[in-house]
Symmetry: C2
Subunit: 150 residues, 2 copies
Amino acid sequence: MATQNPDTPADAPRIDPLTLEVVELIGAVVARYYEEYDVAAGKHALTGAQARVLGLLSLEPMPMRRIAQKLKCEPSNVTGIVDRLEARGLVERRPDPADRRVKLAAPTEEGLSTARSLRESLDFAREPLAELSHTERESLRGLLRRMLGT
Amino acid sequence: MATQNPDTPADAPRIDPLTLEVVELIGAVVARYYEEYDVAAGKHALTGAQARVLGLLSLEPMPMRRIAQKLKCEPSNVTGIVDRLEARGLVERRPDPADRRVKLAAPTEEGLSTARSLRESLDFAREPLAELSHTERESLRGLLRRMLGT
DNA sequence: TATTGTTATACTCTATAACTATA
DNA sequence: TATAGTTATAGAGTATAACAATA
């Protein structure tokens, strides 16, 4: 074992400074991502959870159960989130002809256009990435893919 | 203007496929980051907000007001979060000799060791990055810095 | 019996507004 | 009067448990 500076916590030496900095940068990206997402949702007077569900449904209507799986939360929570979206006229519940237990949540016309507008106001897609050239984006894509084990 | 596939929404053409994929990859990183953070916090029976505050204080004790600034939330919320950490014996409130209005929140010994353990269980720092070579990490660092305008 | 969605309950986080004790 | 922290209140998200309708 190497001699440690007494100021250095016991767990610190296991991560080299470069890795630590990359982790901090990823943390900054995550923080910025969430911030921009909430701002975009707020512009439409939606909470983060509501915006996420609306975004999901704008791709494809689905049973309440599946929304919960996508959100990684309990199905009982989805009831309230969809209730609020439905009260605002952005989403509606339809019966599933194949199984009368199931309710399919689907966006209304207004819900669809809100979801589209939400996607557009997600500046995160353009602004930070605008700094990078095409080649750099390819490089970033490759590194992120490897990180995620894709 | 280029001819569009009728299946393509009106907002899609503004982002090229490469950028879109990078954005999706960043979204995946963000999701994974949050997941691992919550799992790590949960191992210590802490909520995300509590873990974040404890992590902050483990670096440096600070006034309630400043915690709110760091968390980007209202000061009134910090009262409750610190209350719960204090009830668990992980944090304590100390008077500020310089200004009797101020209360300094500081981790206890147990709080410090919990914070250390929390940091260690944040596998995100090591596992995904372990896939990348030193050179690749340097490259990733550069790209992230440019993205964030650092 | 098992599954889908809901309700009831309790806890945490959040913002707003009003309060207290200092400055 | 201005500031730091708190309290009170209300809304939203979360998990757990129990329930009705349907499979």
